[in-house]
């Protein structure tokens, strides 16, 4: 067992990497050159990248024998997967491809940083004692069919909901950047080829809000399921460990954002800044805490 069997997932990861690079390039190309065929190619690339990411997750689950959410590398892939699926849904629904130039670039940067992770964050490891939690009712249902090893638990639920939240915030972040760019040029009342193809600020603002309005309940679910799990593992649902505290900081920022939208003077620009601040908090919550601050949550 010295050589971990990660060949399949590595193969799909390499494929995904290439397609994310192409996707980001084509979307940026579409944004700058505005050729329809570039945009169509970008969308096709994005679908293939999404499929490859799905395959990485499936292969990884097969290789490790548990849900593929147990270390930083796997969570990055889940993050990228959720951003891409979210974006493709957005594109399908609103037909605004220029957003891909921003959102799919975030996906690509995330894949790039996942590929740069040191080996110890990527290896397939059996779960340590604190990470083993399965829902007993689910084990009970699956056991008669002999499938009990596929049962999931609070850990899987916690990671999954948290990363849906992160991905929604990432999309909202991309949209907020676009909003600010568009808003800046509109304030000068001058056309600019960079932002002319952007949708109206009203739409960017609204879509960004939709992202956060989706991410916020998922982040909350992630925090709550983490608390439930902590209560099982450590006997306390909240211990102010850096990861917990940063999740709460992020929660406060987005709660401020949601309230800002109710107040007239805080709409638009100020709430776009809050959305960006919120995503910076997410990045720190996700990477900063894992690498800089010590704590119970050190493994991912």
């Amino acid at each position: 067992m010295t050589e971990p069997k990660v060949i399949m997932s590595l193969m799909f990861f390499t494929m995904a990497f290439a397609f994310y690079a192409a996707t980001a390039l084509f979307y940026i190309g579409y944004w700058l050159l505005r050729r329809e065929w570039i945009g169509q190619t970008a969308t096709i690339m994005a679908y293939i990248a999404a499929l490859a990411t799905t395959m990485v997750l499936i292969a990884r689950a097969g290789e490790s024998g548990h849900a593929p959410f147990s270390n930083l590398y796997e969570s990055m892939i889940l993050f990228v997967w959720a951003i891409t699926i979210g974006y493709l849904w957005l594109e399908h629904r609103y037909k605004i491809k220029v957003i891909g130039a921003f959102v799919m670039t975030i996906s690509f940067l995330a894949v790039l940083s996942a590929s740069l992770l040191p080996y110890r964050f990527k290896s397939v490891e059996p779960l340590n004692p604190a990470l083993q939690s399965k829902w007993k009712w689910l084990v009970g249902i699956l056991e008669p069919m002999g499938l009990e090893r596929y049962a999931i638990g609070w850990l899987d639920f916690h990671v999954f909901t948290t990363f849906i939240g992160y991905a929604a915030f990432a999309i909202a972040f991309g949209l907020s950047i676009m909003y600010l760019l568009k808003e800046r040029f509109e304030a000068r009342k001058k056309g600019n080829f960079l932002v002319d193809s952007f949708p109206e600020t009203r739409i960017l603002d609204e879509l960004s809000y939709r992202g956060i309005a989706l991410g916020f309940p998922f982040l909350s679910l992630g925090i709550i399921s983490g608390a439930i799990w902590a209560n099982y593992a450590w006997g306390t649902y909240w211990s102010w460990d850096p990861k917990e505290t940063w999740s709460l900081i992020t929660w406060f920022v987005y709660a401020a954002y949601l309230h800002a939208r109710v107040t007239r003077g805080w709409r638009g620009k100020k709430s776009a800044y809050l959305s960006i601040a919120g995503f910076i908090a997410v990045v720190f919550l996700y990477w900063g805490v894992s690498f800089i601050l010590p704590g119970l949550h050190a493994y991912a």
Binding site: A130, P217, A233, W234, G235, V253
Partner: protein
Amino acid sequence: MKKRAWYGSVWRFFASVKLTIFVLIALALSSIIGTVIEQNQPIESYYIEYGERWGDIIRTLQLDDMYHSVWFVAQLVLLMINIIACTYERFPPKWRSLLRKVDDFDPSIIDRFSNREAIELGATLGRARDRVIEVLRKNRYKIKLDRSQGDEVKLYASRGLIGRFGSDITHVSLFVIIIGAIYGSFWGYRDFRPILVGSMIRVPDADFALRLDKFWIDYYDTGQIRQYNSLLTVIEDGKEVLTKQIWVNEPLYYKGIRFYQSSYGTSWNRIKEAEIALKRLDSNKVDPPFSVKWGEVSKVPGSKYSVRLVGYVSDFAFDERTRTVFSKSGETNNPAVQIEVYNGEDLIARPWLFFNFPGLIHAIPGTQYDLVLMGFRTIPYSGISITKDPGTNVVWVGTGIMGIGFFLAFFVYHRRIWVSIKASGNGTIVRMGGVINKNPLGFEREFKDIVEAVKETDSRA
């Protein structure tokens, strides 16, 4: 009069959403401090790490335990006051206006909505009305008003009214969670007990005892640790009530108290048995060892002596003041056993035998015999965390309410559509206008679909 104005402005301050935003941002920013400065360390360590000036600041501002400091809790209290004030100010009028029965409306309001449409239908007034109602119902709208006045029919329909109360339910849930957290922190406790295998402890603040029957570790094939397990038995009034195997993530729960697997080790003050050998100092020869059980007497083979095993420390230390031996840590750094040496019935010595330093103390003074500690069998213990938090269930109820609140607030939108149908020549003119409280882009689409459906039914007829 002046006094009331003063009172009013204070009230407006506490009931403003701006205050909410500021408090939330202040909470976010100030919470960072506690993730950078390590919490709950002895106060001296802050002076050592940050120097005297910053040490003073940390102590004064209670930054060593900032999440329980007066100023941090004050922010939370301010947020709570803000929520109460906002709810008190906004909820009753909202409730009244949302639940007010619509008896009639002025059709000119339809022109004020950004989502509006006027369609000409070939159908009669009655048929047009039936069609619009059918389409609205198909889109899961409830018809709240259906009123005919001469050649005009007015309809008002809505959907997802309950979504409007999502934010209020969420605010209530925050309250429940905080009340649960406060309740638990006052009436709960957190404790830790190492229990030796086979021994029993009294559970603090409870009328039962707990016995550890067994402790063991499971491994993966690769040798990595898979799980730590303890078999615990609850004993109440001298009777065994319940036996359960616990492991990390799987505590024992009994009468409001949870017992968690949290660490393990070997005993520092007791052993099962010791292996001791007789050493002949004249020939420097060591006999084969014999074993002696804890508290029991064994004959020393090949001599007239016998020994009783009476003491053990895993890390030998001696307190000069009280002249007692103790173990200075739980580690097995300097293990030693104490024995009583008997010559027949007479106690002749009570030496300590050191595992690492054989011969340090002559065990049978004045003779050519010494005793050497060759080995010992320790007793494993399992470290059990004991927590009682009667507020936990309240917190879970709160999170459940929060889930409902979020669902309503973020996924149920309040849509309202006003319709005026007027006879015109052979057909009718249908004017529709609608609003939604959230998700305007989605509503634009839905509104168009509804309008299209109304048109389509006409062409079908």
